[in-house]
Amino acid sequence: MSSEAGAAATRPRYWPTLAAPATIFLLLFFVFPFYVVLAVTFGSIDPILRQPVPAWNPTTWNPAILTFTWSNIVHTDGLYEAAFVHTFVFVGLATLLCLLIGYPMAYFLARRAGRHKAAFLALFLAPFWISYMLRLLAWRSLLADDGYINRALIGLHVIATPYPFLQGKPLTLVLGLVYGYVPYMILPLYATLDRIPESLMEAGRDLGLSPARTFWHVTLPQSYQAILAGLVICILPMFGDYYTQQLLAGRANTRMVGNAIVDALTQPIFVQRGAALILVMLVLLIPPILYYLRSTRRATELAR
């Protein structure tokens, strides 16, 4: 009998029941809502109240709206094409910046902050105790035409007239996303970098590696799973984000998929389109999640 089979045999029988709360939670708050999204997408519109009528029976599902939505994503000048392009570009840039900013920050906190580590971590996390929405509202005030940032730039003679940060500037939106999501990159990186044994670094150095090559050959590979985790944790919510664009950009030239979904959901005759967009997003996000899960499993197997 293998050791795993032996362990399974001795495992108490009630163990699977410990998963019951999570299973019930997932059924209630993921599986059922997902089925509602499907039923709405493939449903119809009430002819009197003009509101969506979900089709609960899959045999009656009508794929017309999903087909329409998809064609408006993939065709140039389609209704949703620009939103998807914006989303991939902005999320890609913001995630890259999160990594470039987050990794050194996490490295510093984990390996160079010394006995002040806890204080630095607390200081870093302090702004994030306030809701993201409130912080974005604060940024709106700061970035307004008569806000402190424009006043400072004018005072320093960097610009002559206020820069319209809040009027559809992709830069503002990308920086807003970075600001909102960089902690989700830093925290898993910090947790991993903090646990890398110092002896591994010493071994690298004993073998004649320079600090840069030690980082490249020891630290970075050790933190690969954390980078992946940070990327997934940042990318997933960013793809659905709509309020950063609403509050910091608010123009069609920066519209993201989240905005397209919200717009559709607020217009009952287009709720089906919103539901279809959610389905498309879900399908598009499955491959990176599967890759992450596969990679994690492989790393776990290698570590055994």
């Binding site: 509101q51 005759i269 287009f270």
Partner: protein, 443 residues
């Protein structure tokens, strides 16, 4: 001129656009015949079953009058609708208010003053429980869900009245309980075109749709212009221009600019041209914001020029950091000088699901008391009620509205001058909504 070129070739363009949008909306089943008609002869450019008075629907299971295009009559100024009333649904006269009851009220956020409600509770020894809805469709979904036993809804849009009656959601009024309504409310609402005899509705707020701007930032005077809407077309301030966030207001504006007085149009070419006009404004303005937050954005200086509802303009004064800055805000309704412009109202309706019909009647009527309507306007909504005591003169003399903003007060005469944006047939509505969706998507 660009506009003329569009108007000269409506048919080819219109049919292609129409098919694209009507199919996209996926709600054209009620008027499939209209789609086929639009595909047919080259002269056919109308979307839907005919949204004009000549297409009167006559008798209908739900009412008489109006025009065809939906399962129920669509009300028009020249084709008013009388809704059928089942006498069994009417609350009997002479009943006492329900005792120990909790009256369940639906309202838009901050759209009924808590002080007015408290005074009502005290007067009738009852409890009022308020639930809010964030937009009309969500409100309809709430009352249609069958949950909640709601008694009364404040702020039902006129376009939602017909479908709510057809869906069996509304309870008819018994006017015996409505003394304030009879005595204090403008005559035109005693029997409005959308509900002859006011069987199912009493009005709630009235407003105009006009031009709201920061006069300290922009040297414009729409009132002196041959076409006031040129302020949006000629030189909209870059990054500082905004329109309202709904299809009918946004697309009606260029139609008004072109001199149309009936903007409930079915012609795809006209709708498409309006969309193109707004897109051109967006181009000139360096992008447009479509929102309903003019009342905060103008005081903050985020926006300088906004298509606005008079109630929002009135509210904006509240959001000024320095009250003397009210001088910097100006509002103009083009209808004042005879230009085409929108004027509108919403309604208060009784809900069939409610358990307290007498109290619901009394609350609907309570807000028409001169003192309560003034408190409702001043303390919370900023939206005026159509009561005889509220005039531009009375509001200015009492210091409630700054003199230069007396233009936000709507008079009964304004309803004679203005146009109405009304409920459209489903496929026409889908066409309008699709055009607006394209604008917000920037395509």
């Amino acid at each position: 001129m660009d506009h003329q070129r569009h108007l000269e070739e409506p048919h080819r363009y219109a049919r292609r656009e129409f098919l694209k949008r009507a199919a996209a909306a996926g709600i054209a089943l009620p008027s499939l015949s209209a789609i086929l008609a639009a595909c047919g002869g080259g002269a056919q450019t109308q979307v839907g079953g005919g949204s004009n008075a000549s297409g009167s629907s006559g008798a209908n299971p739900y009412g008489t009058g109006g025009i065809a295009g939906a399962p129920y009559p669509l009300a028009r100024l020249d084709a008013p609708v009388t809704w059928n009333v089942d006498p069994a649904d009417v609350t009997a006269s002479g009943q006492q208010p329900e005792s120990g009851a909790t009256l369940k009220v639906l309202r838009w956020p901050y759209y009924l003053d808590d002080g007015v409600v408290k005074a009502f509770e005290k007067q009738y020894h009852t409890t009022v429980q308020i639930t809010e809805f964030s937009d009309m469709d969500k409100g309809l979904a709430k009352i249609n869900s069958g949950n909640g036993d709601f008694d009364i809804m404040f702020g039902m849009n006129v376009w939602a009245v017909g479908r709510s009656i057809a869906a069996g959601l509304l309870r008819p009024y018994n006017h015996d309980y409505l003394t304030n309504f009879t005595n204090n409310v403008w005559d035109l609402f005693q029997s409005p075109f959308y509900d002859q005899g006011a069987n199912y509705t009493v009005p709630y707020s009235v407003w105009s749709t006009g031009i709201f701007w920061r006069n300290d930032k922009l040297s414009i005077d729409p009132g002196s212009m041959a076409n006031p809407y040129d302020v949006f077309f000629d030189n909209p301030p870059k990054g500082k221009t905004a329109l309202l966030a709904n299809a009918q207001d946004v697309l009606a504006m260029p139609m008004f600019h072109d001199g149309l007085t009936d903007v409930n149009v079915t012609d795809p070419a006209v709708i498409t041209k309006a969309k193109d006009d707004v897109a051109a404004i967006a181009q000139k303005a360096g992008g447009l914001s479509y929102d309903h937050v003019d009342y905060t954005d103008l005081p903050a200086g985020t926006t300088w020029l906004h298509q606005s509802w008079s109630g929002n303009a009135s509210d904006a004064v509240v959001f000024l950091t320095n009250k003397s800055d009210a001088d910097n805000l100006s509002y103009y309704w083009p209808g004042t000088d005879g230009h085409p412009a929108n004027v509108d109202n919403d309604t208060t309706v009784l809900l069939k699901s409610g358990k307290n019909p007498v109290l619901a009647h009394l609350l609907a009527d309570w807000v028409f008391d001169a003192k309560q309507s003034l408190a409702n306007f001043t303390n919370t909504t900023g939206y005026q009620m159509p009561v005889n005591s509220m005039t531009p003169e009375s509001m200015v003399s009492s210091g409630i509205v700054p003199e230069h903003l007396s233009t936000v007060i709507v008079s009964t005469e304004d309803f004679g001058k203005g146009s109405r944006e009304l409920e459209l047939a489903p496929d026409v509505d889908a066409f309008w909504q699709s055009a607006f969706a394209e604008l917000t998507a920037g395509v």
